[in-house]
Amino acid sequence: MSLWIWLLVACLLGYLWKLAGYFVPASLLKNPRMSRIAGTMTIGLLASLTIVNTVASGQSVTLDARVGALAAAAIALWLRAPFLVVVLAGAGAAAGLRLMGWN
């Protein structure tokens, strides 16, 4: 139940961010620091989410089939594959490595 509450809070705050953009004075847009932080934070969060999903198991760091998924996704992206193909490559690599007995 409490997950529902935080989920709805996230939805509300997400909408408020978007809406705020339409109501703040345009002069704020001239401040490059605001949009720079939004940008660097986007990069940092996505990098962190990538690595957490690759190596974290609860509070320990482990190397398992997900590392193969990361490598497969990187190769697919480097070959300019579309997003859905990248995701399938990651799933395929993890599933395949497990079939071969690596976690």
């Binding site: 996230a10 720079r36 990069i43 940092g44 996505l46 997900r66 497969a72 395929g92 993890a94 599933a95």
Partner: protein, 263 residues
């Protein structure tokens, strides 16, 4: 018929299909991370921002709390506020349209609109991409969620690997140049170092603070990291190998980036 002759509408439709389709992966990953069908749909209908949605389920999948998931999703949504400012200056929606426009203000609708130069085309691009992606993203989220619940053991199908790939896929288009790569590396390192020390989900927030500090104290492009996951104008960019592709599609951001010459 005449509407289909508009280049912005055509770009908007193709970006809607490309982006909408990967709603399948969100739906499937969301249910495998422990959310139910209705929670998954609530995220796509109400939060409607791919990065934030993946962040929310990514934290939950890793055993993080609801607060940590909410915080990661909210921090990742900050850039939509910047897009809102740009679009408000560009499209000047009035009355109720402002509230609708806000909801469909995401990476792709912004990029489709700012990539056009004619004001009418900017309007058509934004609304076509925004509404098109909203409809298709939600339909395909439902498809993915239903398929995901039917799959059984998510690990056997490599769905945890799919999540890794999805996040890398979201990050990749933003890694243009040396600086964003350095930011990503520092934040990844901060994450790995703090995973054993703090509760699940918190390392992601620490990385966000590190990234914000880098943004605050350093001086680089002000549109760093503000690239759409699926670039509406990717085709056109192939003809401009040495110019910076994103810059053509984001002309309004130019004025705010005095240090551009550095790159």
């Amino acid at each position: 018929m005449t509407l289909l002759k508009s280049p912005a509408v055509r770009v908007g439709i193709s970006i809607s299909i490309a982006t909408g389709l990967y709603g399948i992966s969100f739906g499937a990953l969301s249910v495998s991370s422990g959310l139910d069908f209705f929670q998954t749909m609530a995220l796509s209908l109400l939060l409607f921002s791919g990065g934030s949605q993946f962040a929310f389920i990514g934290v939950v999948a890793g055993g993080g709390t609801g607060i940590a998931a909410m915080s990661a999703a909210t921090l990742l949504g900050m850039r939509n506020g910047i897009y809102g400012m740009q679009l408000n200056a560009l499209l000047r929606p009035s009355g109720w349209r402002k509230y609708v426009a806000a909801h469909i203000t995401i990476d792709e609708s912004t990029a489709t609109s700012t990539g056009q130069t004619d004001p009418g085309e900017q309007q058509r691009g934004f609304w076509t991409a925004g509404i098109g992606i909203y409809v298709l993203w939600n339909i395909f989220t439902a498809v993915g969620a239903l398929a995901g619940s039917a799959l059984g053991d998510p690990k056997q199908w490599g769905l945890d690997g799919a999540a890794v790939a999805a996040f890398l896929g979201l990050l990749w288009p933003r890694l243009k140049g040396r600086e964003p790569v350095a930011i990503a590396a520092v934040c990844a390192l901060a994450t790995v170092l703090t995973v054993p020390l703090v509760p699940s989900g918190v390392p992601i927030l620490i990385a966000a603070v590190v990234a914000a500090a880098i943004g605050w104290f350093s001086h680089g492009r002000s549109d760093e990291g503000m690239e759409p996951d699926v670039d509406p104008y990717a085709e056109r960019h192939h003809h401009h190998i040495h110019s910076h592709p994103r810059h053509e599609a984001t002309a309004p951001r130019h004025q705010a980036a005095p240090e551009e010459g550095m790159r």
